[in-house]
């Protein structure tokens, strides 16, 4: 049960790593016009859900805090028709269906995921520092 501080922060690391992986995949496929399943690559996003209980439920002696988890990776992107008549995948009218992946959006999301990752790392360091200090009690 991820209800101690380290588990909460660790769950965040996993979730942000998953987001970074999906963003990397989006960026790598920004020009993929044909996938194995046919059609252009479709942008993916990660669905993240908090396991935190509703506000005000404070368990006896515990804060009741919880972490986060990935509930799924979904394809949310469509396709953008781009006029490229010489392209091997162009239609008769000269349009190619390109993935609806905007590198700027992906980079912004990547920065947010990285910051969130680093912040949870800092939370883990803080927990370690407090535990080490407590272990020296009376020594």
């Amino acid at each position: 049960m991820a209800d101690d501080a380290l588990s909460i922060s660790a769950s965040a690391l996993s979730v942000q790593r998953a987001r970074m992986n999906v963003i990397a995949e989006n960026l790598a496929n920004v020009h993929t016009t044909k996938t194995a399943g046919g059609g252009p690559y479709r942008r993916r996003t990660v669905n993240v859900e908090s396991e935190a209980p509703a506000f005000g439920t404070l368990l006896a002696g515990r804060s009741g805090a919880r972490g986060v988890r990935v509930t799924g990776v979904v394809e949310t992107g469509g396709a953008r028709p781009v006029y490229l008549p010489g392209h091997p995948d162009a239609s008769r009218e000269g349009y190619v269906q390109m993935p609806d992946v905007n590198p700027i959006v992906e980079m912004t999301d990547l920065m947010a995921a990285t910051r969130a990752y680093e912040a949870s790392v800092a939370a883990i360091q803080a927990a370690k520092s407090m535990a080490q200090k407590a272990l020296e009690l009376g020594r």
Binding site: D4, A5, L6, G61, M130, A131, A134, L135, L137, G138
Partner: protein
């Protein structure tokens, strides 16, 4: 050298704020004062040992992850045990002094 007939002072110099229980022990008089004081100290030590044991078990089983709270319980048990040890040593010294008195 402690006067062997006089009561062993169990009230330590108070390190808590005045008015705390640490400062409020009545001066023991006859033998029943000893016995009561010792009983009280032993009861408190037993309780703090029990609390420390419970804290250690809770931590070991993952019931709590609060390192600070666990260490505080351990330290409290250790300090109260040290107090009881001192009380026991003083009593023993006093007893031995009394034994040496020629009747």
């Amino acid at each position: 050298m402690a006067d062997p007939i006089a009561p062993i002072p169990v009230s330590l110099p108070p390190v808590e704020a005045p008015g705390g229980r640490a400062a409020a022990r009545p001066a023991p008089g006859p033998a029943s004062g000893f016995a009561d004081t010792l009983r009280g100290v032993i009861a408190e030590v037993t309780e703090s040992q029990r609390a420390a044991d419970a804290a250690a078990r809770d931590f070991a089983t993952g019931k709590t992850t609060d390192v600070a709270a666990t260490m505080i319980e351990m330290e409290k048990a250790s300090v109260s045990f040290a107090l009881m040890l001192q009380v026991r040593n003083r009593l023993l010294e006093a007893y031995q002094e009394i034994q040496r008195i020629q009747v």
